[in-house]
Subunit: 292 residues, 6 copies
């Protein structure tokens, strides 16, 4: 569950140490990748030094890169840099989530050839980290600032995640353009969401009105999920589907309006975790049988 | 009907005065909101002063904000500011439409917590005002300039409304990313349009080839409406629908291809104005019965 | 076939000369259009001189315009300009493809009133040329630079074409926002692709996993085509369709999931080339019969 | 006397009309020059259109040019443009002074080949106009804004004129770099001041402590005039002089410390107005006799 | 003596506490001034919030202001901000020197109406703080970075102080344009230096070759002091003087070449500290007697 | 003599080859310096890669660096880059002059620690190269463009050299702030000019009215030379001097007004070339004898 992880551990300290080590090793790998790219491509070296190689930590690199991407003539990069760096420093969870997202992209997206490529170029990754920052501001009741940041992310990346929405870690927003996630939406861990996906509300009444996405869910390109419905753990939503109903765990919903593959009564269940396996199309055979 | 409102009034002067008063009061409220935000959030105060609090009127504030958002290295902010301010000054209708749009967002979108939030952050609102400005230029046969402005809006906000398209007032573009509205489209008053909505043409033949949207219509996320079809007053188009046919007033079209809820012959009619009530999903029960 | 055109000609030199003449005449026409616009609209003259009228060739004009659009605080316009100009100079095919794309937009899009309008304002045209440049870098194994450029195009135009994807010439990306084309996709010549179209993969396994689009295909707004499927020459994909199957030449696929108009066994065949005729909706009657 | 011209006229209206006509004719000449330059030099046309040819008046052109020159990341060009344009509109004297300064440069500086050259390129001219604007703000007790503007002029042009200093019209600051003019200095009409000239104070005591320069004075490069001394009408101060004493009208002071040419008792008097004739060196013979 | 202050104190801790208190109180005063200005001048409020009022400390405000002033397209403001803030944090002496300089300007310059005015607008103050930062880098053997920063200061403020030069505290650079201070120059505490002053070398031989300026010295506008000469404590150098000789403490050197007022053998000695009293001209009477 | 060097050579080709080799070796040295600095100072690496290390030649590096320094919101860096690169390519003399200037700075200025330091940071060097470019434009009768460029140099570097002025090669402008060189001035080879130096005219009459500076001359800080006077080969002008007379070869002029050291009749002659030896002060003893 995002935002309130109730992990119990024999030894939390040990775990934190491991996490810190993992992050340090990730950062070392990112720098090694960037160094190699800088050597092979002098035209890009200046860019790689300013965004990665001149920084002592992932937190500074990300703060710098996001601040420059999201700044505008009325919202200066130095202000954003300061804000981001302070947030990363006081909330280590932000950084471990970023690290988990980097690993998710690298692991799940065959087009993601290196961590540094994701860190620098994936608008989905960057929009997600910016969302975590604006969510933190929102939680601290600095709402006007959270909304201003949200607005910059929507302009710059065409990704529109309300600051109040709660996201887990290990999230992959693939391609990301056009993603819209509403105020009361919740997204679990290890979820993969393609571009043009909407987690939308049902109307003008306030309150809890957006979808809840379980861990390990995969949502295909252009899918629209509306209302306070529940997409169960490990479920899959086909590309272009319009979902207005709950989807049980480990089942697949497809079509407009979306129906469960295998039928409402006894839907087919899959064994893998689609948010991680990224299998978009294995249901086709079954679907074809069912529909056509 | 947008662009040629044939209102008859006992006393037009009185009405204009009322409108001016309403606008002044709206502007006062916006400044009060911004002032409170500036006090509670010093990091945002500079932004709020430059965009709102330093300006004597909504027209100047909007001109400043849009000019800075839409400027580029080859289209300077001072040029745009001048252009916008002159347009607002010589066309009071532009400002009253902006005011109506602000009220629409505040009234219909539960995530819209204040007028200033909409004015500063809603790309749908800003793209709509920029469209009104480019439409004015188009009407005055300053087409190359209208198209250059249109292009900036499409780049910056990912909202693509042809300068020739005619829009009413009280329009809400919610989230707005990916909206495409073609050259001969007409949109009535008090319409709500979600993101990824297309009001598209039918091919490469010129002439009147885009949809006509009646007053009070609600068009759900990702809906595609193609051709010179008529979406009747108070009708509703479900998310993800592909509409190639006329939709009668107060009825609902859903699906791909879209069909009328309740059937072609005797479609179900609703009483509310969906463009204002923003009820996206009440047809689900009926739809399910009909389709699944 | 893009990228390896095996044209045989009696006289290649003659053909090249003709091509050069055609490009020179196109450039002359563009300048004439811009000159006329500059005269009629002084407010735009500075923009028109800097983007078109001050340049001696289309290659310089495009390099300048793209460099300014795609530059950022960490990727300077001078660096991009240099890169683009060198690419255009050493690869004449880039320029002839750009010329073919300009003609395609002018010929197929009734809203495209002049070549200069397309050159300056069509994000689809500009994103496509930027893709050709990043594809060239990719081919020369300058991948980090290709990906950095790709990322800028995705940010600035909300058009996401993987540098490895292969595109033919005479391509029209109409409106273009939200287009996503994956790593192993191939797009033929004279194809027209509307906004929000996805040519996506099937999952996290690498290898050849994206659609192959034949010459003369028309893909409607919001269509999603997934997997290594083949859309045959002159085929048409309806707006909002979700295509997971091969589509035979000169047939039409519509719906979610997409089916062939006329039925799987004996699909209806059309005579025109929809990628050029841009006929989006003539199948409606038939479709209606078939489905509703 | 600057700032309070007590001119009596038979018919003030007539005079104002003449002035307006003269300004209109000057503006027409500037545009004609710029148009010719734009035609002969396409690389500069964009610059000439944005700074001169797209503007309907000298006031707008100057406001635009100064706003872009003086803006910074924390002081936006739109804010400055608005401020300058409002000032020019409400204080016609600002514009007639600018016109007089343009004529002075054109008339007195053999390197000044056209009005537009001075308007665009002379940092002395631009710094002087910016001073007039900051002086106006100072007079209206908007001192923090006046000082912020003053600071920008000192950074951008290396010309440091305190906002409280009073300047006449028809002023030529030739080359201008390094000019420093203190708070209580007064400069008359038709004065020519070369670069590195200081009109400085005498210490840390406030009050009236800076030089008073009469009409028609010429002050050579690098001259330093300190304290509340009076440089009489039509006097001349040689380059590099350090003046700590009053200089009578129509006499010449040279040297460090400066002495009157011809001697203190019976200084040589010249007939011309050196501020207009710009004769820097005719005193050499006499000086040589006197000193060497 | 700058750079190695050998102060002995009964209680250093106490002193440091006092210094911290004094700085806190200075910062509180600066914020109060800025707040009052922001209230009285809305057009400047955005600027005042971004530069002063949004910052929690003088160190952050100065880092922000300098970073934005000194940044360029190839040296980003975020990089400079980071560098400056780290320097201020790790070297408290930098901040106490800045505070002393602010007090010096406020106390000695009658045109300096407030601390915030000096902090924001005095190029001499800002150039001096930037020098302290580049000097720190130089001391830490980060010479290429020190020189890059030095170069930006020379471009932006026209103040050219070699990073190796050592400056005391309580320095006032009044007007500052054109000041040049060479590599081996040393400037004591409480020194006042006017614009165009040169502390230059004697030729192309390296080694200790620039002037040594004692505490409390006043150097008038345009004075040139060349070579490894010693300007004694409390001495005064007249405006425009060219000094190639030692100047004993509490004496005054004037003229080109400079001679001691009162004669080489028994020069006149003054009682005050001219660097603080800023008395530029009291020697005139005597000088006149001596020379003319 | 600048601008028309009438060198006779046994074998010009050979010489050109040697020159090309010398330039290539200089560029290699510059890159080696920059590479070492980038390695030792990661914070500067991005800057060094963008300005030097990413470029294949000195011409491109200089074009890039100058274009970014001199660009403004109305004069874009891409335009300037294009202009500069074309100029360097078509006029090899520009580059060999730049190389000679780099060597002059490195050889004569003890504070110049490396070629790359001069290339990147010396405003005198950069202003001089920009002048050569604007002089070339002037010679080709592209005067408005030459003047626009001249104006940018005067703003950015506070160095004001009229485009028509003719400069030799091997020029060192040390510190450079405030240098003013008039329209008909001529400066020979291997000249060293300190900051605040003026080569000015005599009044408002056009024609040949500025100084002619012979080869190997040294002009001290703040010297003002006025009128069409001749400063002979190898002569020296003392700091702060005001020169209105011819100065014979190998003599020294000092003072205000300047007199020849050793007397008008039989001035002292020195053996060295002061423009290269940079001996500013050896005349002091003699001067003192002569004057005081």
């Amino acid at each position: 569950m995002p935002d309130d992880p109730n992990h119990q551990h024999h030894n939390q300290e040990e775990e934190e140490e491991e996490e810190a080590e993992a992050e340090a090793s990730l950062w070392a790998e990112i720098k090694a990748e960037a160094r190699q790219d800088a050597e092979s491509e002098p035209a890009l070296a200046s860019y790689l030094y300013s965004t990665i190689l001149s920084h002592p930590s992932l937190a500074r690199s990300l703060s710098f890169h996001l601040a420059n991407k999201l700044s505008s003539s009325t919202l200066l990069s130095t202000l954003l840099y300061d804000l981001f760096l302070n947030s990363f420093t006081s909330n280590p969870l932000l950084l471990s989530s970023a690290a988990a997202d980097l690993r998710a992209a690298r692991h799940r997206d065959p087009a993601c050839s290196s961590f540094s490529h994701c860190l620098l170029n994936y608008k989905g990754f960057l929009a997600c980290q910016a969302h975590r920052l604006s969510h933190l501001l929102w939680s601290h009741r600095r709402r006007p600032l959270a909304l201003a940041l949200h607005s910059r992310v929507a302009d710059v990346f065409s990704v529109d995640i309300h600051p109040a929405a709660r996201l887990g870690s290990g999230i992959l927003f693939d391609h990301a353009t056009g993603v819209v996630i509403g105020e009361t939406a919740v997204v679990g861990n290890n979820v993969s969401i393609l571009h043009h996906v909407t987690l939308g509300g049902t109307g003008k009444v306030g309150g809890d009105r957006h979808p809840k996405i379980g861990d390990g869910v995969l949502i295909g390109a252009g899918a629209t999920i509306l209302g306070n419905v529940r997409i169960g753990e490990g479920a899959k939503v086909g590309a272009g589907s319009v979902v207005l109903i709950d989807v049980p765990p480990r089942t697949t919903a497809v079509g407009n309006p979306a129906r469960l593959v295998g039928g409402k009564e006894k839907p087919a269940r899959h064994e893998d975790v689609p948010g991680e396996s990224m299998d978009h199309t294995s249901f086709i055979a079954e679907w074809s049988d069912y529909i056509i």
